[in-house]
């Protein structure tokens, strides 16, 4: 992923007051385990206002008319997963308002974490563990085990 661009996106989220939480591999990085990833996974509070703030934030970083195609109608309706690839094509931002039946934005434990000179919103190690623990991918299960050991997490 393009480190500088990701940081610019997150700085814009903060400026525009987007209500979001980073999850996935980027969250694992911010909790202290450096890991290569090609995507920035972002959970969004599912409101029309928040989606509008998200669009403003992305448009302040990328000169890209396709950002207007990210709509509340989709994210709050039949398409709770939207992928945005910026013009350089070096990474994708995966935007979610629901994760299956298991997780909605209000279910997440979100903490504020440093990202160099920024402070950003990230799911807590416990929430990230719960998200990764029950998936089918072996890599996620291995990550879950690492989180469990590092943060002394227990299964409910």
């Amino acid at each position: 992923m393009d480190f500088a661009s990701v940081k610019s996106v997150l700085a814009a989220f903060e400026r525009e007051g987007v209500r979001y939480a980073i999850f996935g591999a980027a969250a694992l990085n911010l909790h202290g385990l450096a890991r290569f990833t090609e995507d920035l996974d972002v959970f969004l509070e599912p409101t029309a206002d928040n989606v509008a703030r998200l669009r403003r934030a992305l448009a302040s970083v990328f000169d890209d008319p396709s950002i207007e195609e990210i709509t509340a109608e989709d994210l709050l309706g039949e398409y709770p997963a939207v992928q945005y690839v910026p013009p350089a094509g070096t990474f994708h931002v995966d935007l979610l308002t629901r994760l299956g039946q298991a997780f909605a934005y209000d279910d997440l434990e979100v903490i504020r974490a440093p990202f160099e000179d920024l402070t950003v919103s990230v799911v807590s190690p416990r929430t990230l563990y719960r998200m990764k623990r029950d998936t089918v991918r072996l890599k996620d299960k291995a990550d879950a085990q690492l989180l469990k050991e590092r943060f002394n997490l227990e299964d409910p």
Binding site: L30, E69, Y84, P86, G89, D94, G100
Partner: protein, 68 residues
């Protein structure tokens, strides 16, 4: 790069956790992401795509749809 010594191969492969806020963490992340980008060379097709769920999105992301 400094020399690091280990008592076993298993020890070498242990994940290295750093504390959030430690400048070394962000140097390592930046280096890893940037070198991965150069080595992998994958480029994604710009734009917006919508999916009915994360499974559908992840399946699409795994497809070799992007030009190198």
């Amino acid at each position: 790069m400094p020399v690091r010594k280990f008592r076993s191969v298993e020890e070498m492969n242990q994940p290295v956790w750093r504390d959030p806020g430690d400048p070394a963490l962000y140097r390592v992340i930046a280096g890893l992401w940037e070198s991965g980008l150069k080595l992998h060379g994958r480029r994604f097709i710009p734009g917006v795509r919508r999916f009915r769920g994360i499974d559908e999105l992840e399946a699409a992301a795994r497809r070799p749809s992007a030009a190198h």
